[in-house]
Symmetry: C2
Subunit: 309 residues, 2 copies
Amino acid sequence: MTYQSQVPPDLKQDLLRAVDNSPADWILLNLALSTMKMGGHRYGAFLDAATTAAKLAIYSTFIEQGNNIRKTGFLYHVEPKRVKAIVQEIQAALAEGQSLKVLNSKEPYYLIALPFLWQEHFPCGPGEARVLIQGLTPGERKTIENGLPAGTPRARILDQVEFNELMELLHQTSQEELPKTQRMPFSDALMSHIKFRLLHSGTVIQIDSSLVDIPLYALVSASYSPRGEQERVFAMIDDVARYFGLLQAWVREDAGVLRGVEVFDVAPDQRQQALEELDEMLRAWADKYHQDGGLPMVLQFAAGRREYD
Amino acid sequence: MTYQSQVPPDLKQDLLRAVDNSPADWILLNLALSTMKMGGHRYGAFLDAATTAAKLAIYSTFIEQGNNIRKTGFLYHVEPKRVKAIVQEIQAALAEGQSLKVLNSKEPYYLIALPFLWQEHFPCGPGEARVLIQGLTPGERKTIENGLPAGTPRARILDQVEFNELMELLHQTSQEELPKTQRMPFSDALMSHIKFRLLHSGTVIQIDSSLVDIPLYALVSASYSPRGEQERVFAMIDDVARYFGLLQAWVREDAGVLRGVEVFDVAPDQRQQALEELDEMLRAWADKYHQDGGLPMVLQFAAGRREYD
DNA sequence: CTCAGCGGGAGGTCCCCTCAC
DNA sequence: GTGAGGGGACCTCCCGCTGAG
C-alpha cells in the first residue's frame, strides 16, 4: 500500500540497458527514481531542477570567463540572448534569496505538510466525534470511526469539498514563497495528482460507506510516507551528495583526500563477519585519530554486492 | 589553457546557497558541472539526458502499475496522452537498441573522435611537410612547423575550409547512429560551438601567421582534454554511480550491505599518517577475506575535509 | 569581433473539453 | 474508471538575419 520500490529484475535490466552503462546517465536515472518515485516529486519539478543545475553551470562559467556572454554561449551551444537571460535570472535569484526552481525540500511541501495542516484546521479533541456529516445517527458515526485502522491520528473525517479545499490551501501555501512569475495556478489536474499521491502513499484513505452517498476522506498517518524508508532515502541522497563533493576534492588533487575502491570475492558464510569487522575497524580508526578542535574530516564507505565488473 | 576547474570560493558559496543545501539539487549541480564544464557536453544535451532519466522513471512506474496510463499520469502529474507517447518512445528504444538521448559516452563523440579522424583523413608521414598551402616557400613552411609546441601528433595543418569540413564530417558521423527523428542538422552555431571547444581545451590551436592571410589550424594533442584530469573525472562519475547503487541496496535493506559515515576531527600533523593507515587497513581487510569464486563484492570509500556539519 | 535587436519553427509542459468501452 | 481524441496557451531550444559600436 506504500511504494512499489521493488523493481522486477528484468525491468531493472531494461533500464540499465537503456542508459547503456553510461555512469553519468545512471546517476541521473537513480536520482529521478529516488526523487520522483520515492519522494513523490512531479515530473515537471525534476525537469525544472535539472534545468536549474545546468543554468548554474552556465552562470559559473560566465563568471570565470570574465562576464563574457559570447564565449559562454559558444562553450555550451547556447544563444547569447539566452545566456544573458539565464545570467540575469541567476543573479536576481542570488540577490534576493531563493527563487530558483529546485527540488529544495526532499519532499514536495504540499505532501509533507498535509498531516500537520489537516490536524491544525480540522482538529478532533478527545471524546469528540470524527464524523460531522449531517443525517447520521450516533451509531452510524461509530461504525465509520471503528472502520479506521489503528494508529490513526486524531483528526476529523472530511467530505469531498472539505478535502479539496484543504488541498487547495496546501498548494497555495506552498506557492507563497515563490515569485509571482513562476507560480503555478491550482487546477483540477494538479488536485488529482495531489489526491492520488496522498491515497497511494497511504497517508489518506477514502471511505465509500454505504451509509453516506458521498465519499469521505480520513487522515490515517501522521506523516507522508513511512518513517523508516523515508529516512533511509534521505540519508542516501545526503551521502551521495557528500561523497560527490569528496571525490571532487580528489579530482582537484587537494591535500588530505583519500579515495579508494576495493574489489574482491567473499565466501558466503564469511560475508556477515567481514562486514561487521569492517564496521568496527573503521569506527576504531576514526576514534583513534579523533582530536577535538582538529581539522574537520569525514569518512564515507559502502560495501555490497558487485553488480557488474 | 585547459579548463578553468578552479572555482573561486565565493562563487562556490553562491552556487551552494542557490541550491539551498538541498542534497538532491547538489548532486544535480555537481553532475551538470562535471559533464558540461569538464566533459564539454552541450547545455541541451544535459537537459535531454535529464529528461530521458525522468521518462525512464515514468516508464518503470507504468510497468509496475500494470500498464495503467492514467494512474501513472496522476502519480507524476503528466497528461495521459504524454504518458502514452513516453512509454511508446521508451519501448521502441528498448526494442531496437539505443536511441534515447543520453550523455552516453562520457564525452561527446564529436570532441573525442576528432584527433583520430584528423590523423586518419589528413595523415602526415615522416619527412612529409605538414603545411600544403600554396604560395609558400619551403623556408616559410618550416617556420610555421617550428612554431608548433612539442608533442604535437604528426598530422597535416588545415586551412579554414578543411577544418570546417572535418568538423562537419565529425558531426555527421556522430549523428549516424541516431534515428532520423532526433538528428540535429549541422549549423553555423553548432560548428562555432565545436570549434570553440576544441580551441578552448587545447586540442587544436589556431595559427595566424603573417605569411598567410587565412587562419590555419593544427592538431596539437592526441586526445581531447588532458589525460590525467580526464581519467580522474571519469573515475569520479563512475564511483558516484556505483556508490549510488550500493546505497540503494542499503535502502532496500538487502542482506550483505554495509553503509557508514564517520565524522571526526584530526590533528593536522596526523592527517597524512591516518589516511595512509586507513588505505592499508582496507586493502588488508579485502585481501584477508578474498576467496576466488565467492560472492562478488565491492567496497568504496572516500575521506576528506568536512565542508559543512 | 562583440553586442544588440528582429524574425521563425518545432516540440514540450501545462490547461481544458468530449466520447466510447 | 479507463483509453483515445480534439482544442489552445506558453515557454524554450533550435535556426536564420540585420545593424551599431
